[in-house]
Amino acid sequence: MCHIIRMYTQALDTPGRDCGPAPDTAALEARFQERVDADEKIEPKDWMPEGYRQTLIRQISQHAHSEIVGMLPEGNWITRAPSLRRKAVLIAKVQDEGGHGMYLYSAAETLGISRARMLEQLLAGTAKYSSIFNYPTLTWADVGAIGWLVDGAAIMNQIPLCRCSYGPYARAMVRICKEESFHQRQGFEIMLALSRGSAQQRAMAQDALNRWWWPSIMMFGPSDGQSKHTEQSMRWKIKRFTNDELRQRFIDTTVPQADFLGLLVPDPKLRWNESTEHYEFGEIDWQEFQSVLKGNGPCNRERLEARRSAHDQGAWVREAAAAHALKQQARAQSTTTTRSSGEAA
């Protein structure tokens, strides 16, 4: 609040810095919108509407949680990867997801929420994360399908976020997008190997596509008419494209890739429309989406339990690190004291 007042009374500023009555919020909001319209970036200490702050906290923390929970379905296959090369790649990918979570938690923290609080919300089950991670990874082909489709959809969503109006989020997304591209390529490579393999391997790849196609399409969120945040988020330039625009773009780029693999997209209504130059596709089962989002997906409970147990089992590490830091600090202080008393003597 003090920041805001000072902008208007800097000439009269006194060391006491008394925060007077709130200035005209409407004027501040208008000035904020002007900056956004002019494609200026908003930085953490800048004035911003409370709704903008809360929207970003919600979106960035959900995004961070998705990265962290997203480590679980793939982590499931690290010990069973079919070769040392695949194992090294998968470890690197899962480590990247952890890193992406860290970038995003940091970006959210600049808005005034602590990481501890965000983790608390995740573990309590009150925070949302991408519904896709509540599906199980039943075969090795699922690791390929996740890289190809899930990371592919994520990239489609994330590239426009690199131009988001909030500086720290945009910067985190630039970093994430750079790293994410290997994720998608390694996934496609797995699918390619399987689809060029034995009949059994081809069937495995097809089965993975059958199970991951629709959940991937749902990752873009509800249709534009149903999306309650889209309009405001677009005005604030948090979002640059609507859910349906991004979904269409994903389908248009992914279907030819499935064709290349010789796999069949599990949608009987899918067809190329010559006049619109887009694919038409079948009805999405939004009931399933809502149900998974509400916690009734195949793995919701398992995912949260895995996170909770990792958090609990890591408690002693956090305690030990804190104790060690305290001891080091005490030791440094006593050395300083000894030295200075030595000098005095």
Partner: protein
Amino acid sequence: MNSPASPDQDWPLFEVFIRSRAGLEHKHVGSLHAADARMAVEHARDVYTRRQEGVSIWVVRSSDITASDPAEADALFEPARDKVYRHPTFYAIPDEVKNL
């Protein structure tokens, strides 16, 4: 001295600066939590240099940074605004004069 980490709360926040290669300056890349400065360097390696992005890392506690106030930016930077004569283009030199 800053208060050290406590197990129930977040570890202190550190800002991370990376020198991408010798000859370039350290550049701010982001922040992270760590129990102490040494752990912050190790975490910074894992979080910010997984693809050889750096040859040197600086970390500093975020609470040790003093920043200018964005709300006062106008007043703070105002003195430079009317001093165009600090730029070479301010000076009109005839075309026939070379090497100036």
